[in-house]
């Protein structure tokens, strides 16, 4: 995933670095606000450093967690969307930035000149897009845990291709290899939607797991704890009710992604190299992951990225993301309406 030196020319790399630095500077200020509200009102109550440090360590560690896909291959969480939903956008940007920074300096993963590009695409764009999508959906959707997990799903699903689109933009400005943007990059979109789908499923499930135990820790769900729940019917019904929308939400997202991914893959079949490449990447990834959890997260640190995956997007990617957004929002709206109708029916009866 990490862009090396030489991929983007020097001026654009430096410009990206400047933009990334500005974004990080904004996040440094914002993160104090996000993490500052502790129980302890005492001098030095600024909790940013220890909390963001631990969250960054979490992101680093969670990338070591293997999610088997099929036939011996596996993937891992990228974590941008997860960070956005769990700790908020500013802290999220900071944490992913720190992870990238250390990967570049300590493990030579990602070029030093490309650090700006990497931070911009993987930290800033991923987290900001994820948070924007999430925030938008929270306004539209009814309050509740299902909306939070569903929103996390959508946020992650969109954030991964969005980072690819951002990279394509940078590449169009300062790419050093003359590859026809439309063709190969469109072929890679299929991969990206698939990666985004995996990311979305895992992100949503992880957010759900945190919500179940410590809902107060989910930054984006803090509004959940304000109103108390009033029960008009016995508890079991209430407990069972929210499951349905989640399933439908996920089914809709799944279907959508499959249609998108399938369509693009079909398009891409004229371009076998792109698909071969993807297979190769997945293979590399799977091999490397196998032993990553055995020792220190850093000791066994090796190739973890899916390089070419970054190189997707392009025009087709933009269209794909736009479609994802549109259809996704439509699906959510439909679910919400049907849920509201259901509740109205309950009240009548």
């Amino acid at each position: 995933m990490h862009v090396p030196d030489g991929f983007i020319d020097a001026p654009v790399s430096l410009a990206a670095g400047a933009v990334a630095a500005a974004a990080v500077a904004v996040s440094l200020r914002g993160a104090r606000r996000e993490l500052g509200h502790g129980r302890q009102q005492a001098p030095g109550a600024d909790r940013t450093a220890p909390l963001a440090g631990l969250v960054a360590a979490f992101l680093f560690a969670v990338q070591m967690l293997n999610f088997p896909v099929a036939a011996g291959t596996s993937g891992h969480l990228l974590g941008g969307a997860l960070a956005a939903v769990l700790v908020g956008p500013y802290t999220g940007v900071l944490c992913v930035t720190v992870v990238l920074l250390l990967q570049a300096f300590l493990f030579a993963d990602g070029g030093l000149t490309a650090l700006g590009v990497n931070i911009l695409t993987m930290a800033v764009v991923t987290v900001v897009v994820a948070y924007a999508v999430f925030h938008l959906l929270q306004r539209v959707l009814p309050r509740g845990r299902a909306s939070v997990t569903g929103g996390a799903f959508a946020a992650a699903l969109v954030s991964v291709p969005a980072a690819a689109v951002a990279f394509t933009g940078i590449y169009a400005l300062g790419g050093t290899a003359d590859v026809p943007l439309g063709r190969v990059f469109a072929a890679m979109t299929g991969v990206h939607v698939l990666i985004g789908l995996g990311e979305a499923a895992i992100t949503a499930a992880t957010v759900g797991a945190v919500l179940a135990v410590r809902p107060d820790l989910v930054h984006a769900a803090q509004r959940l704890d304000s109103p108390l729940e009033l029960r008009t019917s016995p508890a079991p019904d209430e407990a069972a009710a929210p499951r349905k929308p989640v399933r439908r939400l996920w089914a809709a997202g799944l279907l959508l992604a499959l249609v998108l991914g399938g369509g693009v893959s079909f398009y891409a079949s004229a371009e076998p190299d792109g698909l071969e490449k993807v297979a190769a990447d997945n293979g590399i990834d799977a091999q490397e992951k196998a032993h990553a959890t055995e020792g220190s997260p850093l000791a066994d640190y090796a190739v973890t990225g899916i390089a070419g995956a970054r190189l997707s997007g392009g025009l087709a990617g933009v269209v794909g993301v736009g479609a994802t957004l549109a259809v996704g929002t439509g699906a959510f709206l439909a679910v919400r309406r049907s849920r509201a109708a259901g509740r109205a029916a309950d009240e009548r009866s």
Partner: protein, 251 residues
């Protein structure tokens, strides 16, 4: 207990390169890489000269070539991409195999610059301890908060890996074996539990800091600034690289 993060790339041998202050080394490597990236791809001798420069640094730092080469594996995905380029890029084709000329240039460009960049970073990480890397970054005016976050992250990465490992053992010993997406729920619960533990630990660490009189600023390590001679030594690499780069443009 896992190996320390410090064990990953760092080679604990004494050498003049090891002894240079970290801020000098970081600045030198960054300038070097920028110059490499700014070199025109047609200037083959320039890239050979860069490689030679790095070889000299490696020799001075007593870093074995094998150590650097092994770490360059990190580049593999991009090598795969570069290999593809000649097939997919547009423009005139070669007579042999019908490869794209433009694609070949692109592949060469990425491979040469990427490899040099990785090699330079590996050399930096091999001759500088984690701690001093962070101190060097701080000296180079990276925001202190960012450095603090990074230093907490490094401190607890191993603790978290240990927790993750124990959770995995706990899953295994109860007969759970993740085989496919059906089991993602369980793994996601692990991730969720890990997050909660991380966050709560962050809160406890904060309390421990407060208990010891923390007022929001980390005590700064008292180290003398790099001397002029040290800066001059470190500047050899980028200055020579600058000459090479200029040579590359005028050729």
């Amino acid at each position: 207990m896992g190996a320390a993060p410090a064990d990953t790339l760092y080679l604990p041998v004494g050498s003049p390169v090891h002894r240079l202050p970290p801020q000098c080394k970081i600045a030198a490597v960054c300038c070097f890489v920028v110059l490499v990236v700014a070199t025109p791809r047609e200037a083959f001798p320039a890239f050979a000269a860069y490689a030679l420069l790095l070889a000299c640094v490696a020799a001075a730092g007593r870093v074995r070539p094998g150590h650097v080469l092994k770490r360059m594996l990190i580049e593999v995905p991009f090598v795969a991409f570069a290999v593809l380029l000649p097939f997919v890029a547009e423009g005139p084709r070669t007579d042999m195999l019908g490869l794209s000329v433009e694609g070949l240039w692109g592949a060469w460009n990425i491979l040469a610059k990427g490899t040099l960049g990785v090699a330079a970073s590996v050399l930096l990480a091999s001759t500088t301890q984690l701690r001093s890397l962070l101190r060097g970054l701080e000296r180079l005016r990276l925001p202190p908060l960012l450095v603090q976050i990074a230093s907490f992250m490094l401190r607890y990465a191993d603790v978290l890996a240990g927790e993750l490992h124990r959770m995995r053992l706990a899953r295994l010993s109860r007969g759970f074996d993740a085989r496919g997406p059906r089991h993602w729920g369980v793994l996601a619960k692990t991730a969720g539990a890990l997050f909660i533990r991380c966050y709560e630990r962050g809160e406890r660490v904060h309390l421990a800091m407060l208990s010891r009189g923390w007022t929001g600023t980390m005590p700064r390590s008292e180290e003398e600034a790099a001397t002029r001679a040290e800066w001059a030594t470190a500047a050899c690499l980028p200055l020579l690289a600058l000459l090479v780069c200029l040579g590359g443009w005028t050729l």
